[in-house]
């Protein structure tokens, strides 16, 4: 299955590729066979994409990020597919002086 390089993203903990209906096309890592999380994420995406981000009406959608302290979900769309990547949050190390 072509996943278009989503499995090669640095700091990735897992990935999901869904079709427009929310069915899992490909998955891996912590999100392998993650049908339950895919359903929850699709529910969130359907509401989030309708939200206005600016006063311009014709602003095309690009990306949704759901962030916690240690990890995040990065969601984007391409070619009628939903790409979801679970990534580790990289907190920069304090500089030793």
């Amino acid at each position: 299955m072509m996943t278009q390089g989503i499995e090669q993203i640095p700091d990735s903990l897992g990935y999901l590729m869904l079709n427009e209906d929310g069915a899992v096309i490909a998955s891996g890592g912590q999100l392998e066979n993650g049908e339950k999380i895919a359903n929850k994420l699709m529910h969130l995406i359907r509401i989030a994409i309708k939200m206005p981000t600016s006063d311009e009406r014709a602003s095309s959608f690009k990306k949704i990020t759901v962030m916690w302290k240690t990890f995040m979900y990065v969601i984007t769309f391409s070619n009628h597919r939903v790409f979801i990547c679970k990534r580790q949050t990289n907190s920069p190390e304090p500089i030793a002086v």
């Binding site: 999380i37 929850k40 994420l41 529910h43 969130l44 509401i47 989030a48 994409i49 309708k50 939200m51 206005p52 981000t53 600016s54 006063d55 311009e56 602003s59 095309s60 959608f61 690009k62 990306k63 949704i64 990020t65 759901v66 962030m67 916690w68 302290k69 979900y73």
Partner: protein
């Protein structure tokens, strides 16, 4: 009194570079205060998205931050102590 301090806080947020709107809602999604682009925001959607985000990992204690980005701008959402704040930013 509370409204006054929220308004003051929102004025402060609006002075940050790139910020063109702020909206603040209560736990039910009712808009408490809004400024700039935030006046067009729907509070219910904001709290709804954050509730769903929290539901992804109910075991994680810290509150999630949701960022919705488009070509024209981005919207950052976070809730704290039952109050949800949405910040609209331009992409400049």
């Amino acid at each position: 009194m509370m409204e006054k301090s929220i308004e003051k806080l929102m004025d402060e947020i609006m002075t940050n570079p790139g910020v063109n709107g702020v909206v603040c809602t209560d736990a039910q999604g009712l808009v408490v205060a809004a400024q700039g682009v935030g006046r067009k925001s729907t509070g219910g959607q904001m709290t709804g998205v954050l509730d769903l985000a929290r539901d992804l990992h109910p075991d994680v204690k810290d509150e999630p931050i949701v960022c919705i980005e488009s070509d024209a701008g981005s919207l950052l959402l976070k809730s704290c102590d039952g109050i949800t704040i949405g910040i609209h930013k331009t992409n400049s």
